[in-house]
Symmetry: C2
Amino acid sequence: MTLIVQKYGGTSVGSVERIRNVARRIAQSQSLGHQIVVVVSAMSGETNRLIALAHEIQKYPDPRELDVMISTGEQITIALLSMALIEIGVKAKSYTGGQVKILTDDAYTKARILKIDENRLRKDLEDGYIVVVAGFQGVDESGNITTLGRGGSDTTGVALAAVLRAEECQIYTDVDGVYTTDPRIVPEARRLKTITFEEMLEMASLGSKVLQIRSVEFAGKYKVKLRVLSSFQEGGDGTLITFEEDRNMEQAIISGIAFSRDEAKITVLGVPDRPGIAYQILGPVADANIDVDMIIQNIGHDGLTDFSFTVHRHEFVRTMSMLKDKVQSHVGARDVIGDDKTAKVSIVGVGMRSHVGIASKMFRVLAEEGINIQMISTSEIKISVVVDEKYMELAVRALHKSFDLDQIP
Amino acid sequence: MTLIVQKYGGTSVGSVERIRNVARRIAQSQSLGHQIVVVVSAMSGETNRLIALAHEIQKYPDPRELDVMISTGEQITIALLSMALIEIGVKAKSYTGGQVKILTDDAYTKARILKIDENRLRKDLEDGYIVVVAGFQGVDESGNITTLGRGGSDTTGVALAAVLRAEECQIYTDVDGVYTTDPRIVPEARRLKTITFEEMLEMASLGSKVLQIRSVEFAGKYKVKLRVLSSFQEGGDGTLITFEEDRNMEQAIISGIAFSRDEAKITVLGVPDRPGIAYQILGPVADANIDVDMIIQNIGHDGLTDFSFTVHRHEFVRTMSMLKDKVQSHVGARDVIGDDKTAKVSIVGVGMRSHVGIASKMFRVLAEEGINIQMISTSEIKISVVVDEKYMELAVRALHKSFDLDQIP
């Protein structure tokens, strides 16, 4: 008998009717002979409602008390789902994070899981129960309630799958898998049967927000097979997230095209090319809690160089003025220029590690479309370019076609 | 430094504004040099909202899961109240029943407290924290969440006061104390400075619904001083519920007049006066889950007697038809008659134990007003009569005046 962990997000359990559907789907999985552990989020909107209520009392709610409060969202869902299962004749039992117990550190609102006690769950599973566990929450060593931060329910699912050595951790969501790119931009986009963890990480961080990046890292670390499935469509195998060693040799070199409209590009011009200059520029940015994505510095000329990076578009104005006020004269830069009408387009695939010419093919395709590349950055399994945002969709479509992503490999 | 337990009900914490008020009041008590443990209920309406949600899934919600769900109501309040305290600069920490831990039996939805671990609370109190505990809930030995049933928050307050040997358990409610009778009927009704537990039990069960009867019993058993106070009015000492041995000798003989409009009277006429007849009549009533209040049987004549009792008015029709169908011929009774236009009026006071003539005075007063007494039943500290409901208010007013309850004793 195989053990499967299924995780259902807030939209999947967003109403009584949807909770009933989820119960039916779980019962079906059980009837196929699986032991099932279910992890659920709060009903969609509930966590935000609770946070708003807390903010009526405190502008910056006490983190310990905020966790006591928002953890009730999942607690309600586990009870309702267990009732729905019992109602259709399936033995079920709910557990809060504290009851399991899911031990975390004491970093309220963004705790990390340290250990999970599997004994009680094992016993219930052997007794034929569906075990319904509240995602997103745990307890610290002193028994204080903690939460794992946004997307924490995925992490709970993966962690339970790891501890229980589950066959698979199935993440039910409102899409039916991971696509070669966003089907709204490229209608020919294809659902991937498999994708590697490394690719998934690059896809997720680039805006294909199917899975929380933290849970993907976690799954990779503990070798948990993750599968993304739709909680609304019946049938379908979704997308399995695999380890590279399991990868089919015949698989495509490129798995997908990711993109983001949220990038703004900033360049500090004519800075002295000396050690410590990157820190002098990016230190103040980090201190202001501004996240930096791509960072590029090319070789210098005549003792001067240009230093570029991208930030989220809504941080653009703040970053520009801070650089002009505090950094430009301090580092002796000539000017600070920027552009918030940019987009990032990336091709992702573990195959490119062993294939040369992928980058040049990408650049050729973009050139043929008349798209100017403003910045380039690469990792082992990803090549990203920054382009004028008006060319973003064109770039994605052209690359999707050129790399044959619309063809089954 | 004295330790005080304060309990605030659902109306007292029914909105963000009210929670802020409660926080201010607690801070005030602390500034008088007290250590404070606070017990709170769910915000008014919340428990019913959750129960309704459960009923959307199951007609008869699974009791274990129902408790998981409704216990979130208090969990939200403890967090909000702790935030409100922290916001005004008072150190505060919340605890669910499971965190304390309040150990109960495993009778879901109506569990009984077995034991409370005081260590963690003691430590927080010594560290200067206000400890905010969720009322109404606990955990069984296996860590399953349980609830204590309606009014359970009062019980939590009393139990904590007992375990912590608190100076007082203050129950904050929407009235400012216990009155000699309902001021809506007798404007001269006076707030009692003290009332004994025994009197309070009689008053509570007779419809003066200030305190849950179970918590009063509990307080009596563990010698916890209870005080009823208003959470909306500032100042005022409320009513202290005392033990008889502490009672002021000068206190009035009668403490109050209780009444209930909910009584319906039923008489089984001409039943054979033989052993077992009471059981043959009341057995079927109990089996049908109908609560019986007063029961009266006088001596018989010629081997026959009349057997009377009262039930809640909304059970009247059901009880009558059951008696006629199943009991009358079985026991060989002549007839079953009844009246649901009746009311019960009671005088309550521990003083009547040591004073003769109280009953005769009561009957004289009613006679002078032309009120016919239909049934009489007495206990050591209470005399109850059933009268036509149209005379109820007249009876209450006349008795209140005759026993000088409008005068400070």
